[in-house]
């Protein structure tokens, strides 16, 4: 089946398209944030729920009582709720979209990584794991991630959101500069 040329502004956003115009997607996320604010009085966020997942996982090993004794998880108690459903539904939405759009693909080593660091799956996995750990540690220290600060915070003109956005972008640019200096032979 022929795929739509990606992201023409005028093209109607269909679920079977591989991608939509980034402006349509951005407007969609903006309108979604109206609905979330209006209907449930919450901003869109993700990283708090991921840290609750880690508390839940820790609970399997050391018992939930020990987990809730922790000063952090005492205030962000791991429990099934609104944000759990939101996180799982985000994954389901992306799954449906990628299946119908024909972009679902098993990916072990992404292209840009491979061009610079070779095709070793182990190397990519170690980097992804360490990157993920830094990412969530940083998100919790800052009190939010790209969703909570980067979109929900900035759109309310929160000082915290804009400071986070700038610090994150600057560090990302420097890291990418160091990481993608030379091509793999």
């Amino acid at each position: 089946m022929e795929k739509q040329p990606c992201c023409e502004i005028g093209s109607f956003p269909r679920i079977k398209s591989a991608a939509w115009s980034p402006y349509i997607v951005g407007a969609g996320i903006g309108i979604l944030s109206w609905l979330v604010f209006l209907l449930v009085n919450k901003p869109i966020g993700m990283s708090t729920e991921v840290s609750k997942f880690s508390g839940w996982l820790a609970g399997i090993f050391v018992g939930m009582d020990t987990v809730t004794e922790n000063a952090y998880w005492a205030s962000k108690t791991p429990a099934f709720g609104y944000s759990t459903v939101f996180l799982i539904a985000t994954a389901v939405g992306a799954f449906i979209s990628s299946k119908l759009g024909g972009t679902f693909k098993k990916e072990l080593v992404p292209r840009v990584w491979q061009e610079h660091h070779g095709s070793s799956v182990g190397k990519r996995f170690v980097a992804a794991f360490i990157g993920g750990a830094l990412l969530l540690y940083g998100a919790r220290m800052a009190g939010g991630c790209t969703s909570g600060h980067g979109i929900s915070g900035t759109l309310q003109l929160a000082v915290s959101g804009w400071v986070f956005f700038i610090a994150m972008f600057a560090a990302g640019v420097v890291t990418a500069k160091l990481m993608f200096r030379k091509k793999a032979s």
């Binding site: 997607v25 951005g26 609104y82 799954f95 992804a128 750990a133």
Partner: protein, 191 residues
């Protein structure tokens, strides 16, 4: 029907599912579930992420500010400005995002589009979450207490009123989009 709907009610959970589904579809159609697209933002080679985020901020912000002025919303949801925590945490987050290639939301979504390394990085996120909880008493004292200004908005720390901020942001976003559309290379070509 009384708004807002309680997030612990059955309807609240149904809405969480609807909102999440829409968010996941949008992230995928916006191509931000693609490692290459995100990493190429930091390499100044693909402006998709910037276009998505700036549009979301302007459209979302104008709507939320309008609803606030009509008195339709309960109030703002401003996170604390803990300056040192935001700078250090934001920097760690940026390093992590460049190495992992996703943020928490797009990482979760990418796992569902077949990215196995995104799943491995999700495991890393869980470890990062445990590490943070364990180090929290120290972080709270040594980092979060530095430069703690509370829940402040740009309109409170500058003499610039709300409306002017929005006119400026719309103008900046428009200017950025116009510049990107003029650059000879198609902005979404990921290489």
């Amino acid at each position: 029907m009384n708004l807002p709907i309680s997030t612990s009610s059955g309807l609240g959970l149904v809405l969480a599912g609807v909102f999440g589904l829409l968010f996941g579809v949008l992230l995928n159609k916006g191509r931000v579930t693609d490692y290459n697209v995100i990493v190429n933002l930091f390499r100044f080679r693909d402006w998709t992420v910037l276009k998505v985020m700036l549009t979301a901020i302007v459209v979302g912000g104008l709507g939320v500010a309008t609803m606030m002025s009509f008195g339709w919303l309960e109030g703002w949801h401003i996170k604390d400005t803990n300056l040192l925590g935001l700078l250090l945490g934001g920097a760690l987050f940026g390093v992590g995002m460049a190495v992992y290639g996703y943020c928490p939301g797009t990482g979760v979504a990418a796992v569902a589009t077949g990215s196995v390394h995104a799943l491995v990085g999700f495991g890393g996120m869980l470890v990062g979450g445990v590490a943070y909880a364990l180090s929290y008493p120290w972080v709270k004292d040594a980092i979060l207490s530095k430069g703690a200004y509370g829940k402040i908005r740009l309109t409170e720390i500058t003499p610039i009123p709300e409306a002017v901020w929005w006119i400026a942001l719309v103008a900046i976003a428009g200017g950025v989009f116009w510049l990107l559309s003029r650059s000879s290379k198609p902005a979404h070509s990921a290489s």
